[in-house]
């Protein structure tokens, strides 16, 4: 953890004294951003893990789930985290030690970078890149390198098979995901995530020219794209029905098989952190992001209400992700590949074409 805290501490060190509070100075803004990113990821992972993995799953299975650690077990994952920090840090004797140690950090880094471009309000965004969605999709693929490193360095056959499956799967599903996003980008005319939110706030649908429905999120015009994006996100996150890389009944724990202690915790955080981030991206692209109809686009209040709205939408998307995860059996690796290449990619190409035509025509 100390490696992660270092940039935050460094950022704090260059800050001006507290007395001269000027939140617009570069140092303060940077510190705030670093703190948000460092705080949001563990918090997001904790919330998703607790609400969905522990509680929702248990209730769906007519159980209670954790009850003892804190009221209704809210501290369960905190206890898990503290426990994992105390566990022995095992390196398998034939492991490639450096790569083995670096792999969880690479996965976690990919997750951290995802958060950089997600807007939670008109100004509540770490860095509003012009090519925000492009950046997000690019960095989300970095995690596969970490997974491959983990599988290779573990010197374990299950881990290796799991890592190769993960690589094949992520490559296959990255494509439909990008293509699904292209539809949104065409419609919004921008690749900036903040721009997409604004575009959705201003988007109007006219029904046969009779009457107009204002402020429609893109989930309605881009319903095909939304479904494609959610399926691809499910695969990207290695959740059932696409959880072959970590298929318990086949590959023990896949690429994580040999990881113990806090290194496993990094993977765990990375898994739920990216679930949180991808849900946020889905909410931004298709559900209108931080914007709710009736809210002023530029008010300072939007910067406060916006994150809450976005959080609610994230939970909604994540609910579907985890609902599917706990219900569906998993596909076989070849079925998964054929589904990606033969079904999803053609559909997404057609979707792009239709969107483009519609954009030109209307």
């Amino acid at each position: 953890m100390s490696a992660l805290l270092a940039p935050a501490l460094a950022a704090l060190a260059v800050l001006p004294p507290v007395a001269a509070v000027d939140v617009t100075t570069y140092g303060w803004v940077t510190a705030l951003k670093v703190a948000i990113v460092l705080g949001v990821i563990p918090a997001g992972a904790l919330i998703l893990g607790y609400v969905f993995l522990l509680k929702m799953m248990s209730h769906m299975q007519s159980r209670l789930g954790p009850m003892e650690a804190g009221p209704h077990g809210v501290l369960q994952l905190v206890a898990d985290g503290v426990k994992f920090l105390q566990k022995e840090d095992i390196f398998p004797s034939r492991a490639d030690r450096r790569v083995f140690a670096a792999a969880p950090l690479v996965v976690l880094m990919s997750t951290f970078l995802l958060y950089v471009v997600i807007p939670a309000g008109p100004r509540a965004v770490v860095e509003d890149l012009d090519t925000g969605i492009f950046f997000a999709l690019a960095v989300s693929s970095i995690s596969v390198i970490g997974v491959l490193m983990a599988g290779w360095a573990s010197a374990n056959k299950y881990a290796l098979i799991g890592a190769l499956r993960a690589a094949g799967q992520l490559i296959a599903y990255e494509l439909p995901m990008v293509l699904a996003v292209v539809g949104v980008v065409i419609q919004a005319g921008t690749m900036s995530l903040s721009g997409i939110v604004v575009a959705q706030a201003n988007y109007e649908v006219s029904v046969f020219g009779l009457f107009e429905i204002p402020k429609v999120p893109y989930v309605f015009p881009q319903i095909v794209g939304f479904l494609l994006f959610m399926i691809a996100a499910q695969a990207e996150l290695s959740q059932a029905p696409f959880d072959m890389p970590v298929a318990e009944s086949e590959l023990v724990a896949g690429y994580m098989t040999e990881y113990s202690g806090f290194r496993f915790l990094f993977f765990f955080m990375g898994e739920f952190g990216s679930a949180f981030a991808l849900a946020a991206i889905a909410a931004t692209l298709f559900l209108g992001g931080w914007y709710v109809p009736g809210m002023s686009m530029d008010a300072v209040a939007s910067d406060i209400i916006g994150p809450l709205v976005l959080g609610g939408k994230i939970m909604l998307v994540a609910f579907f992700i985890f609902w599917v995860r706990f219900t569906y059996p998993r596909l076989r690796e070849d079925q998964l590949q054929s589904m990606a290449w033969k079904v999803l990619i053609p559909i997404s190409l057609v979707n792009i074409a239709v969107t483009g035509v519609a954009k030109v025509v209307f």
Partner: protein, 390 residues
């Protein structure tokens, strides 16, 4: 016994895989050791598979990690003590294990239990079947990645276990049979409660049909996977739902004369012609429903009377050999008991357990399949370690 096209195709594929093994195999493969502590093996089965990519070139199951030596231990115990032992062979339906043994012992003792005892035996036998197969129905989902069904299975199985406990005193290992009858009669109100629970079991079956059987992914993972042609299956000694799924219409409960009460009930033996994993799952699901039906009928027709026969006043078991087999949840279970006429227990007790034969087909059936299908096939053949290793 009709040979369907998928069965024929599977046979050809098997032959091709064998030819490939014999003449072509010179690739760089990887040997993967599944087990003995692997989540898919329901315990401690170990399968050594040679992989070419993700395809299995050959598989060699290695059992014995749960071998406890029942046959030897039965030789140094009394007949009454052996029931305690054989309870633990197939631990999901313990009562079903003791019934054939006690019937064999009764044959040797030359006594016969009164009708009420036989009916209660049949009743609990079918409840054991439900307790066993419900877990299979849920566990199949876990092996394919759907984790929720098994929780429902455990939930609804609990009701059945409660009833078994109420009747026998043992939730898991009843040890309820005695030579010549039963330990106790049923408690008051048990019959009504049982019929209420059977409704829950039927509900559970419907739920599984919705959750798993109707799921496209489940179907795609199961259909055409692990097809067993009937003749090959019989040659390996597959029995129970595994062979009925291949179209062999054979159920010992119906086809063999037995002192138990199946002949007095109206029920149906389900078969399926595909012989694949899906067929095995489907047949077991129907069997659970039939078992619930049987329990209802047995509850209705329960005769009154004593539950223990008059035992002849002799201490020695006459010399002889007896073979009794029944249709257990996992397949045919039989005991070949030899008495030497002495005061001790069985001289020889050969236990023919279903899973041992069911699993012996694995080297044949696993050739050429993918690793995920190994799990599907293993689970759909449905074995219990104690039943393999004894």
């Amino acid at each position: 016994m009709t040979v369907t096209e998928p069965q024929q195709l599977a046979y050809i594929a098997g032959q091709a895989a064998e030819a490939r093994l014999r003449f072509e195999l010179e690739t760089e493969g990887m040997t993967l050791n599944i087990g003995p502590q692997h989540p898919a093996t329901h315990g401690t089965l170990r399968i050594i598979v040679r992989l070419d990519g993700e395809q299995v070139v050959w598989a060699d199951p290695s059992c014995g990690y749960m071998h406890r030596g029942y046959e030897k231990l039965a030789e140094v115990r009394k007949y009454q003590q052996v029931t305690t032992l054989v309870n633990r062979i197939d631990w999901l339906s313990s009562f079903c294990n003791e019934v054939p043994f006690i019937l064999a012992a009764e044959q040797l003792y030359e006594v016969e239990a009164p009708p009420r005892a036989q009916w209660i035996r049949t009743l609990l036998f079918e409840m054991g079947r439900i307790a066993n197969i419900t877990l299979f129905l849920g566990e199949m989902g876990v092996q394919l990645g759907a984790i929720t069904p098994v929780f429902y299975a455990f939930r609804d199985r609990e009701h059945v276990l409660n009833l078994i406990e109420a009747a026998t005193g043992g939730r898991f290992h009843p040890n309820y049979d005695r030579v010549g009858g039963l330990k106790d009669d049923l408690p008051k109100g048990w019959v009504e409660e049982t019929k209420a629970v059977m409704d829950k079991v039927r509900e559970f079956c419907d739920q599984m049909e919705d959750l798993l059987l109707g799921n496209e992914i489940f179907e795609r993972r199961m259909r055409g996977i692990g097809v067993i042609p009937a003749r090959v299956g019989l040659g390996y000694g597959l029995s129970g739902a595994n062979i009925r799924a291949s179209g062999v219409d054979w159920d010992i409960r119906r086809d063999e004369p037995s002192v138990l009460a199946w002949k007095d009930c109206d029920w149906k033996v389900w078969t399926h012609t595909d012989g694949d994993s899906f067929a095995r799952y489907w047949v077991r699901l129907q069997e659970t429903r039939e078992a619930a039906k049987l329990v209802d009928q047995l509850c209705d027709g329960l005769p009154s009377g004593p539950i223990m026969a008059k035992m002849p006043a002799r201490l020695r078991v006459p010399k002889g050999e007896a073979w009794v087999h029944t249709e257990n949840p996992l397949g045919e279970m039989g005991y070949y008991v030899v008495s030497d006429g002495g005061p001790s227990g069985p001289f020889r007790c050969k236990i023919r357990s279903a899973s041992f034969n069911n699993i012996s087909i694995l080297p044949w059936i696993l050739r050429g399949v993918y690793v995920p299908d190994v799990i599907t096939i293993l689970s759909s053949l449905y074995f219990i370690l104690g039943d393999i290793d004894r």
